[in-house]
């Protein structure tokens, strides 16, 4: 068996073996309840928006229900697998209430099967990334395939940032051969909205090349059709969920801003949260005007995303997965940066995020969980976890900053044209991908 296939199969096997036995209750719960609604033809945004209004009415505060706040297309990657699950297990409830702070109720024996089915799109995305990278560099493909952080985010927690990573990688790889596909994949990467910061970069690079620009926009427009549909059908709900929620979020995460979690004053926190947003706009403007047209696309994308990681308000533990394939492709970046968000996961998350559904399989395990959780909550209430979380957040921001400087230096010094930059990709990567997609398209 050739090495590429061996890496891909091993990557898939590791993930499939882990997937049924773990989950992040919040995120998997959101995908599960949204899949049910999508299958019934219900409007997800109306549901989330109504919950938010209910919370705001109860508290008198600008708080938001943390439910499905993504691109409408995303749920259609999961719904077919949920539908297959219902053919096997029926339509009864399997996961009841997983939204923090409520603990979910899990129904057996169906929970592990549900988890496996809902994680299949994520596992497929991971495997495709490994396949594509293996076509260029087997060593780097192995790094992605067996990186504990990547496996944890996708196969253990069930977070779908690998899909964003796959589409961003595909957009980059196809950009030199098909602007239409590049636009289409870029549009798909918007299923987590933070890749929107790359749109000005694409626009600046294509400015003046009107035919290519139109092709790119054509591809992008296709992915935006569902957004347009919801803007017509329920404009208030989708605006509330996608724009007001995402735009009005409190800063924090694996970054230098998580100190705000100890400042318990929401109105003040929201005002302070505007500081990094202002710097983000300034930094994006500077980078795009200075290097946007001249620098290689890979380095430009990474620079913009690094700036987002530095000045974006919310950088959750899993976000790095979305640019991890591109980091691996760049000679300038240090991929070991994943260690910081991986450590952060264990500092921030309650114990049940690591062992669901195993802990819920017996009253004995559940008893152990309650004891362990009590210790965790005492540590958290005393503030002992906040200190290392902040240290790791600042450390991660500095590592991102260091990588950004490396990318900028390489571009300014003219050494940014890595052997695997898009213009000189071997036939097995970009062209191959374009060909395969074209075949599917035709």
């Amino acid at each position: 068996m050739e090495e590429r296939s061996r890496i891909v199969l091993l990557a898939a096997a590791v993930r499939v073996a882990i997937a049924p036995f773990f989950m992040h209750a919040g995120d998997v719960g959101t995908i599960y309840e949204s899949s049910i609604m999508a299958l019934k033809g219900l409007n997800i945004y109306d549901f989330v928006s109504a919950k938010t209004l209910q919370m705001q009415n109860a508290t008198g505060l600008p708080v938001f229900f943390e439910g499905y706040a993504y691109h409408p297309l995303l749920i259609y990657f999961f719904t077919p697998f949920y539908w297959i699950f219902t053919l096997i297990a029926g339509q009864g409830p399997v996961m009841i209430d997983g939204h923090y702070p409520a603990l979910p109720v899990l129904i057996y024996p169906w929970t592990p099967l549900l988890l496996l089915m809902l994680k299949i799109p994520i596992i497929l995305a991971d495997v495709l990334i490994v396949y594509v990278i293996a076509g260029m560099d087997a060593r780097k493909a192995k790094i992605y395939a067996f990186c504990p952080y990547v496996i944890f985010v996708g196969a253990v927690w069930g977070m779908f940032d690998a899909l964003v990573g796959l589409f961003l990688l595909a957009s980059y790889l196809t950009s030199s051969r098909s602007k239409f596909l590049s636009g289409l994949f870029y549009g798909l990467s918007l299923m987590k909205l933070y890749t929107a910061v790359l749109l000005p970069l694409y626009a600046v690079r294509l400015y003046g090349r009107w035919k290519e620009f139109a092709e790119f926009l054509g591809g992008l427009a296709i992915t935006l059709l569902p957004v347009a549909y919801y803007l017509i059908v329920s404009p208030k709900s989708i605006w509330n969920v996608l724009v007001i929620f995402q735009g009005g979020r409190l800063m924090g995460g694996v970054n230098l801003y998580n100190f705000i979690w100890i400042v318990q004053d929401l109105i003040f926190d929201l005002v302070v949260s505007m500081v990094p947003t202002i710097l983000l706009i300034v930094a994006l403007f500077y980078l795009i005007t200075r290097f946007g047209r001249k620098a290689p696309l890979l380095e430009s994308i990474l620079a913009i995303m690094f700036v987002y990681f530095l000045f974006g308000k919310v950088i959750n533990e899993q976000f790095l997965v979305s640019i991890f394939p591109l980091i691996l492709l760049s000679r300038e970046c240090d991929h070991r940066i994943w260690v910081a968000p991986f450590v952060f996961i264990f500092l921030r998350s309650p114990f049940y995020y690591f062992m669901l559904p195993i802990l819920w399989t017996s009253p004995v395990f559940y008893g152990y969980y309650l004891q362990a959780d009590d210790v965790w909550r005492q540590l958290q209430a005393a503030g002992y976890l906040q200190i290392p979380m902040y240290a790791v957040g600042v450390g991660f921001s500095l590592l991102i900053f260091w990588n950004l400087l490396r990318v900028i230096e390489s571009v300014r010094g003219g050494v940014g044209f890595t052997p695997i930059a898009t213009d000189r990709l071997p036939d097995s990567s970009g062209v191959g991908l374009v060909r395969s997609v074209r075949k599917l398209w035709e």
Binding site: M55, N57, G60, V263, V394, L398, F401, L405, I408
Partner: protein
């Protein structure tokens, strides 16, 4: 190199400057006003008291009143906690059977409990020397409220040695209790003054002291004015406290930034030396 140096200086200063925000907020902005936060909870801090009113998904701490001892101002010592989990109005549980909305002004938190036949307001009014919890409705209502503390060493002069099971004490509008804190080596005193005579007050023993006071009354308004203090009786250790975090954040930021700069400067030198040797 010039750009890199300027950006590094900017970013280092940016990180360190932002790390002072919690401290600035605590000392300049957070004092003596109700502030809501992300989960939907509210808190209030003044020179003597810290009050937490929990989010709508939790029936405890409605409110939870803490005292800040003069000899350890950053410590928050539990004084009493009103629990909605274990309180009833007209036989309906305050947490499970009422719709609740909260609104805050600078000094008063107004919590509205609604059912089709009854609306009750719980006002928490702050002053520098006491916390007033008022239950008010346009109609008369029958209430059973539970006020918790783990634990009170005596209540109205009755100590745990005198009582083996729940005891109804003589009707009164004043409840005085004592408590101690091992970490701070402190002895505390608390008072609850009620605006009207309740129909019954019970005290509940639990191992080393009393852990709750239950108050039953029928009225359209009842206020509980809570005050307390703590004195040091020994030499208190200076225990770690969550309220000290704002002081720690700048230290963490400066340390991590300094490490980054040191590794950036000397790490490269060492790497260069190693590269030279090997080449």
């Amino acid at each position: 190199m010039k750009l890199k140096g300027s950006l590094t200086v900017f970013f280092a200063v940016y990180i360190i400057a932002l790390s002072f925000i919690p401290l600035l907020h605590d000392t300049l902005l957070a004092q003596a006003r109700w502030a809501g936060y992300g989960t939907g909870a509210y808190q209030y801090q003044n020179q003597h008291y810290f009050i937490l009113f929990n989010d709508p998904y939790d029936g405890s701490s409605k409110p939870h009143i803490h005292v800040n001892p003069d000899f350890a101002p950053a410590s928050r010592i539990s004084l009493v906690e009103f629990s909605d989990w274990t309180s009833w109005v007209n036989d309906h549980n305050l947490f499970n059977e009422f719709d609740v909305t909260m609104r805050a002004s600078t000094q008063t938190l107004d919590v509205t409990y609604s059912r089709p036949e009854l609306v009750i307001h719980k006002y928490i009014e702050m002053s520098s020397d006491a916390v007033k919890v008022i239950l008010q409705s346009e109609k008369e209502f029958r209430a059973h409220l539970e006020i918790w503390r783990w634990v009170m060493t005596s209540i109205n002069g009755i100590s745990i040695e005198d009582v083996a099971k729940p005891l109804a004490i003589a009707p009164t509008t004043l409840v005085e209790f004592t408590f101690s804190d091992d970490r701070l080596q402190g002895l505390g005193r608390g008072r609850i003054v009620m605006s009207a005579m309740p129909s019954q007050i019970q005290i509940w023993p639990h191992e080393k002291g009393f852990n709750k006071i239950t108050v039953d009354f029928v009225n359209s308004m009842m206020s509980f004015t809570v005050s307390g203090s703590m004195e040091a009786v020994g030499t208190p250790s200076q225990p770690w406290n969550y309220a000290l975090l704002p002081y720690v954040m700048p230290v963490v930021a400066i340390t991590v930034v300094a490490l980054y700069l040191l590794v950036g400067k000397y790490g490269r030198t060492l790497k260069n030396r190693a590269t030279r040797r090997s080449s």
